[in-house]
């Protein structure tokens, strides 16, 4: 009787744990893919998505890995092939990428794209999704959490932004000229619309536009 009682309790407990997986919890509601005309359109649409997809990550990380190469916005399949060729994404990952993106998957792609080797554990046992997430969190590229948590569109955009800054951390910040900005702000240039480095041709064009 004691064995029967224990067996019944085990069956009940197993049912309580496994029943949700059988048909209770579903994937998060996915939004249909929005056609994007360029990278600005893509990232703005992405910022408003509740849940990012793996295909979104393929396109965003492909752009991150390409860097200054003017490849533009790739299609999801093209982006995946690009990443698989360069070892950023394993070939076993979904070719369509319609599933929701998890933090672990995003962290894995980010670490591979940026060449982050991690610590002893990552180097010995290889980069796994969990350890990549730990490393990305340590590098302040991603917020903490579990590797199976889903990623929102805004978080994906922010992560790509931080990852890009990380990839260019050793480069000089040459696209911000404080003196030129100040001069433009107070209107020390002739037209108050271009920086001090602008030539006379731009001034003439500005006059025509006005």
């Amino acid at each position: 009787m004691n064995r029967l009682h224990s067996f019944s309790a085990i069956i009940a407990l197993a049912a309580a744990l496994l029943l949700p997986l059988a048909g209770g919890c579903q994937s998060p509601p996915m939004q249909a893919e929005m056609p994007a005309t360029n990278d600005a359109d893509f990232f703005m649409n992405l910022a408003y998505k509740d849940v990012a997809t793996l295909a979104d990550a393929y396109r965003a990380v492909a752009m991150l890995h390409a860097g200054d190469e003017d490849g533009g916005l790739m299609a999801p399949g093209e982006a995946r092939d690009y990443l698989v060729e360069r070892g950023v994404v394993p070939a076993s990952w979904s070719p369509t990428g319609g599933a929701a993106l998890t933090k672990g998957e995003l962290a894995y792609m980010i670490c591979q794209a940026l060449g982050i080797k991690g610590g002893v554990t990552m180097r010995v046992f290889g980069p796994s999704k969990r350890y990549c997430l730990y490393e990305a969190s340590y590098q302040q590229l991603m917020t903490g959490g579990s590797d199976y948590q889903y990623v929102t569109g805004g978080e994906l955009v922010s992560t790509i932004d931080r990852a890009d800054r990380y990839s260019r951390r050793n480069e000089p910040d040459d696209h911000f000229d404080e003196a030129a900005m100040t001069a433009a702000a107070i209107g020390t240039s002739d037209n108050n619309s271009t920086t001090a480095a602008a030539g006379d041709a731009d001034n003439a064009e500005e006059g025509e536009q006005q």
Partner: protein, 363 residues
């Protein structure tokens, strides 16, 4: 135990197990799970900014100029214009016409790199931005991957550089009766670097993110970043003073060059190196300006939560009771001394035989 009671006991155990099994199923079915939803058909071609991104009412913003306003040249004509010839919007009307029925232009675009687009209103399509383009009030601007552009405002005082992956809207650009130009930028996503100079046209410049309102005046290089997963971060680089206010909690703080703060109004220590253990005490962290003033008036007491004692404090504590007011104490003490001196003088005048006490005085 006879056979009958044993059978009864067995039956009760089986029924108990069955009940337990049924309860487990009921609990499992009652667990909250996101329901499977059909994929959205016909998504909108271009998402619009949510209603929460709309400009907050003027009364909810707590913009405080932290520096003395520059002297306004009152002799200048009311319709004074910056050097580029574009007129600032008329007073008392937001988005006032520039004079010929066209929307007032707020800024000019400069230094465009890679993909930068704009649209006049939410219902208009996106168009690429070119250098020299003038943008009207209400325009949305978005930058792509590694794209930057600069917005030079027509108040002859401010310029903003948009960093990559930024979504921003020119919310306001108006001129009040007192000549102050009011500029409001709504930063939805991304980062900006702002330069606001003191000029002959008084400028009221602020950047509004979903979390905070950042008021600047006479300040150079304010780094404002808002990311959906980390919130807002503000950093002041070179010079000036800025006031940052969290609209939700009402708490704010002022940042000096080198300071940076998050939406929680917590100062961030970016670089620190200590030779020994140093207790870091942010005495004024997370308090309102009124609370900060009270603390400054009574430096020996920290009038906040808990029994923390500010540096240099004595036996007084801010936990419960009435905070000790040093300034009031000295004021009352000086009044007492004055009264004492007046009394001594009165005695000497009215009672010549009175001899004032010798020795050290009370004060």
């Amino acid at each position: 135990m006879n056979l009958a009671s044993g059978r009864i006991l067995t039956m009760s155990r089986l029924s108990f197990d069955a009940t337990l099994f049924c309860l487990a199923i009921i609990v499992a079915l009652a667990l909250p799970c996101p329901p499977a939803a059909a994929q959205q058909a016909d998504p909108p071609a271009s998402p619009t900014m949510p209603a929460t991104d709309a400009a907050p009412a003027a009364s909810t913003t707590t913009v405080t100029p932290v520096e003395t306003a520059p002297t306004v040249n009152n002799d200048a004509p009311a319709g004074d214009v910056p050097a580029n010839g574009a007129a600032v919007a008329d007073a008392n009307t937001a988005n006032a016409d520039g004079g010929d029925g066209q929307p007032a232009f707020a800024c000019t675009v400069a230094n465009v790199k890679r993909t930068v687009e704009w649209r006049p209103t939410e219902s208009d399509p996106w168009a690429p931005v070119k250098e020299g383009l003038t943008l009207p009030v209400g325009s949305d601007i978005r930058t792509g991957f590694r794209a930057v552009c600069s917005l030079v405002f027509k108040d002859a005082a401010s310029a903003v550089q948009l960093e990559p992956l930024t979504i921003i809207r020119i919310g306001e650009f108006t001129r009040a009766d007192d000549g102050r130009v009011r500029t409001r930028l709504y930063l939805k996503q991304g980062a900006t670097r702002s330069v606001v100079e003191k000029s002959r046209i008084e400028s009221d410049f602020a950047i509004i993110t979903p979390e905070i309102t950042l008021a600047v005046q006479g300040t150079r290089v304010i780094h404002t970043t808002h990311q959906s997963d980390r919130g807002t971060r503000v950093r002041l680089s070179n010079s000036g003073l800025i006031s940052v206010t969290n609209r939700l909690t009402g708490r704010g703080r002022q940042l000096r060059p080198g300071d940076s703060a998050t939406g929680l109004m917590l100062l961030a220590i970016e670089n620190a190196q200590f030779g020994a253990a140093v207790p870091i005490f942010d005495q004024y962290g997370g308090v309102t300006q009124n609370e900060q003033y009270s603390i400054l008036r009574g430096p020996q007491v920290y009038a906040g939560v808990g029994t923390q004692q500010a540096p240099g404090s004595t036996q007084f504590s801010g936990a419960g009771g009435t905070p000790f007011d040093m300034e009031l104490f000295w004021l009352q003490y000086m009044q007492y001394l004055e009264l004492y001196e007046e009394w001594i003088n009165w005695l000497e005048d009215n009672y010549p035989e009175y001899v004032p006490p010798s020795g050290p005085s009370i004060g």
